[in-house]
């Protein structure tokens, strides 16, 4: 398990078509989230802002409501200026640009998912490791806690936290998703640890008198790093879905727009009945494609790290 081989494996992963496809797609959305705002004059809330002369205050202008995609429109701003703008994905019922909301919503959703994945993975790994490595009573107690967490639906926690806070921010949502998403990671990591714990090299290390921490970080962890990475990716995709669902039922962030809240607004304003498809198809499609991309990354990595799954010629 030397360093070179891991580097080699990463290069191998880059040669894997599935990994390349998934990684490329994900990269595309990340880049899109970063540079997307360059293609629209609208701010994250879908409004057109204009600086008032002689002060640093900005005034918002609404666009015409429910314009279809690729509509050009001349806005008359607060100060009476005429500005020609292009609504790449049209506007919604409140006269806000959908494309701008989508780009900023994508940012929020990716940010929430990243944070939630980090929190969930770290928690799950720690608890799983400790339970699996220590065994005995510690294991029993921790696993009982894991089981309890598995049966408490995350929505209860969300309501509780939402009630304590004056406003729900994306970070809070990430925290809640992370705090409820770890139990299965802990379970999986525990069983991995259990199987690794009794391998010869670990026993050797123990005989050599290495401390538990040294064994965990020096011997067991490196053997699980790829596994942990994959778990993290699954956490990430789970978090995107969970956050979209929470947003959709009205428990989304109150301080920022996210992909799920766009969908929720679309439903609330009868977009389905009135045929404003540009309002609800793109956000869902983006969520779906991101998760697909993550799955492919995961699959590609699994094939690389677990040669049994590798199929000839790929």
């Amino acid at each position: 398990m030397a360093r070179e081989s891991r580097l080699y494996k990463f290069r191998l992963a880059l040669k894997n078509n599935k990994f390349r496809f998934g990684f490329g797609l994900l990269l595309f959305f990340i880049i899109f989230a970063i540079i997307g705002p360059l293609f629209t004059p609208f701010a994250g809330d879908g409004l057109y802002y204009e600086k008032l002369p002689g002060s640093n205050m900005e005034v918002a202008t609404y666009s015409t409501r429910t314009l279809p995609p690729m509509t050009r429109e001349t806005l008359i701003t607060y100060s009476g200026r005429h500005v020609e703008v292009l609504h790449i994905l049209g506007t919604d019922k409140l006269g806000r640009d959908v494309y701008a909301q989508l780009v900023y919503g994508l940012r929020t959703s990716l940010w929430i998912a990243t944070l939630a994945a980090i929190i969930g993975t770290l928690l799950g790994i720690t608890i799983g490791f400790v339970a699996g490595y220590r065994g005995g009573l510690t294991d029993e107690l921790l696993m009982m806690f894991v089981n309890i967490m598995l049966v408490i639906p995350s929505i209860v926690l969300l309501i509780l936290v939402a009630a304590y806070l004056e406003a729900r921010s994306p970070e809070i949502q990430a925290l809640i998703i992370g705090l409820t998403g770890w139990p299965w990671v802990a379970r999986a990591v525990r069983s991995q640890t259990l199987s690794l714990k009794n391998r010869e090299f670990v026993n050797l290390a123990r005989l050599a008198g290495l401390s538990d921490l040294r064994i965990i970080f020096g011997e067991i962890m490196p053997n699980m790093i790829s596994y942990i990475f994959m778990v993290g990716i699954l956490q990430f995709s789970g978090a995107i879905l969970a956050s979209a669902t929470l947003d959709f039922i009205g428990l989304g962030p109150t301080t920022a727009v996210s992909l799920g809240t766009i969908l929720q607004k679309a439903i609330a304003h009868n977009a389905l009945q009135f045929g404003w498809w540009w309002w609800f198809i793109p956000p869902g499609l983006i969520i779906t494609l991101i998760i697909t991309a993550l799955f492919f990354i995961n699959l590609g990595m699994e094939e690389v790290f677990n040669p049994r799954l590798r199929r000839g010629g790929e």
């Binding site: 008032l52 918002a60 109150t254 301080t255």
Partner: protein
């Protein structure tokens, strides 16, 4: 193995279908059925603490008087008339020939029993009511000790449902509190009204069936619809679809009414011009009147002047242009008696007059000294925090427009959003805000209640329920006190005029747009829906608004396509005054609406 699995699944599938309690099938002829809907499922028909079935109040059980919220007038219902015979005695005379649905006559004893039953339940506490005296079968006197609040009493007349003594006297009030009056308990639903509860299909629909033997047919029209079915439609989206397909005749949902009308020309609402929806009362912009510089009436006035409601109506929520008073279009009668336009001209401000507003601020010495476009007060730039709830898109949008309108005045407005209960209402109740919108203070059924809830202030706990800005004016308190004690209309108008003058001079809050309630009706099967020109009923199809006039609307519709006789109303004389007491609990519907 595979075959067994398939079999097991098939059994499960059939079994899950069998999980329903099957009732006998029944058809409701479309031409004889009114379909309405609510965003909460029908789960309780409890007439006392507001079930969620439209019409339990008003159509099944009836009050002494019906309120018509759209005109704020009372219409004698079970009562033929009611009046203050002296300053502490209110006498009610019942109509002749009123019967319960089981055939028993409805008498003064039932009226006395009903008011006492509400008190026993803990749902009403009528201040100062000493005795309810049955004079004869059709006459009952309410005797007060000391001077009663005539407006509060007025509200009791339409919020107290009259229940049959012979059914309820053996029902323990403690038990009644949590009864749903469905299933076996449905037998207690013996009302006097035009409809009976036929059946509730749990959590999906409730079916009211016409009472063919209704006493009221003699005085009012016999209701046209044989059935009134309330569907459970949880989302606006689905309600829009039901209207487009003609599955729904009338309801209160937040829909794009203009779009709906263009797709289904049979859809009507209150007005035949935009905003179509019925404008009811103004939404007002509160100032935290305890915080400088908003403690200065002149400063508040300057802000009021900089606001342009016409722009808000054009760019903001579905609304209409308000006037400067907190009394909405529903109080047109009162405003006429007060000659409100003259008061406004004399004491009020002019909207959208930026120049004059700037002049006032300059005069107050609030100027922009450092040239950054923001005026300073005591050396600090004025930055006002506008609080609202994150789901209240109407209010957020209005806040943004107001922020834009105040910018050229040199005042910066920051919009803070949060949860309804834990952020918005908490801030309003604790005075931790600068500006906020609300209409709880204006959504009232009489002008006394409006002024009381907006302007009364004795101390932090004893104040008007919607006096969020803690506006305090001793003279206003005094006037409210006097107004509460007089059933004499001339005197009432005199006090109301003075209260309006104080409002206009002091600007405790600014009406920024006239809020609408949502109302969609389908004329394909039923016509004569109430509207601006014929406001005989109230277009609020929420549970709990029955005696506020929804019942009047449902009783007044006519079948489409058949020549309809003209209504013979027995002419509603306005009875004594009052205050709104809302037992009607409509939390879900309102909650939803605000979150949209």
């Amino acid at each position: 193995m595979k075959r067994y699995l398939a079999l097991a699944i098939a059994v499960l599938l059939v079994g899950s279908l069998g999980g329903f309690a099957f009732a006998g099938a029944e058809d409701f002829p479309r031409s004889e059925t009114i379909y309405t809907a609510n965003s909460a499922p029908p789960t309780s028909a409890n007439p006392f603490q507001g079930g969620n079935i439209i019409g339990i109040d008003g159509l099944v059980f009836e009050p002494l008087f019906m309120l018509n919220f759209m005109t704020t007038e009372l219409k004698p219902w079970l009562a033929e008339k009611g009046e203050w015979v002296d300053s502490t005695t209110f006498e009610v005379k019942l109509r002749d020939g009123i019967k319960w649905q089981d055939g028993e006559p409805l008498t003064a004893e039932d009226v006395k029993f009903s008011f006492e039953y509400y008190e026993k339940l803990g749902l009403k506490k009528i201040e100062g009511l000493k005795e309810i005296k049955v004079v004869d079968d059709r006459t009952v006197q309410f005797r007060f000790s000391g001077q009663p609040n005539v407006w509060v009493w007025r509200s009791n007349l339409y919020t107290t449902l009259i229940i049959p003594k012979h059914v309820f006297e053996n029902l323990d009030p403690e038990k009644v509190k949590t009864m749903t009056f469905l299933g076996d308990e449905q037998k207690y639903l013996v009302g006097s009204g035009a409809y009976k509860l036929k059946e509730v299909i749990q959590q999906q629909k409730s079916i009211l069936e016409r009472n063919e033997d209704w006493w009221g047919a003699r005085y009012f029209n016999k209701p046209a619809a044989k059935y009134i079915i309330q569907l459970y439609i949880s989302s606006n989206d689905q309600a829009a679809n039901a209207f487009l397909k003609g599955d729904l005749d009338v309801a209160t949902y937040y829909l794009d009414i203009a779009q709906l009308k263009s797709q289904n020309p049979n859809i009507v609402s209150w007005l035949d011009r935009p905003p179509y929806f019925p404008p009811v009362v103004p939404v007002v912009l509160y100032f935290n009147t305890e915080k400088p510089p908003m403690n200065m009436p002149a400063f508040r006035r300057a802000i009021a002047m900089a606001i342009n409601p016409e722009q808000i109506v054009e760019q903001g929520p579905i609304s209409d242009v308000p006037d400067q008073t907190p009394l909405g279009p529903i109080m047109e009668n009162w405003k006429k008696k007060m000659d409100a336009p003259k008061l406004i001209e004399e004491y009020g401000w002019q909207y959208g007059n930026l120049e004059k507003a700037m002049g006032i601020l300059d005069q107050l010495g609030i100027k922009d000294t450092d040239g950054d476009g923001v005026r300073e007060y005591n050396g600090r730039p004025i930055e006002l925090h506008f609080v609202t709830c994150a789901g209240c898109s109407d209010w957020i949008q209005t806040g943004e427009i107001i922020a834009n309108q105040l910018k050229p005045l040199g005042i910066k407005v920051v919009i803070d959003k949060g949860d309804w209960t834990n952020f918005f209402m908490k801030k309003l109740n604790s005075g931790d805000f600068d500006l906020a919108l609300h209409w709880a203070g204006t959504f009232k059924a009489d002008p006394y209640s409006v002024y009381y809830s907006l302007m009364y202030y004795n101390n932090e706990t004893d104040k008007g329920s919607a006096n969020f800005g803690n506006y305090h004016n001793e003279r206003a308190n005094e006037l409210l006190q006097k107004l509460s004690a007089t059933p004499n209309e001339d005197e009432q108008v005199k006090y109301l005029k003075e209260l309006t003058r104080i409002w206009l001079e002091d600007v405790p809050a600014v009406p920024v747009y006239t809020g609408t309630v949502f109302y969609e009706a389908n004329t394909q099967y039923w016509t004569n829906w109430p509207n601006e020109k014929n406001p005989y009923g109230v277009p609020i199809f929420w549970p709990g608004f029955g005696t506020w006039g929804t019942a009047l609307a449902l009783l007044g519709v006519k079948p489409a396509g058949t020549p309809s006789p003209t209504t013979t109303d027995s002419g509603g004389s306005t009875c004594g005054p009052a205050i709104l007491v809302g037992l009607a609990l409509i939390p879900l519907a309102l909650y939803r609406k605000r979150r949209n």
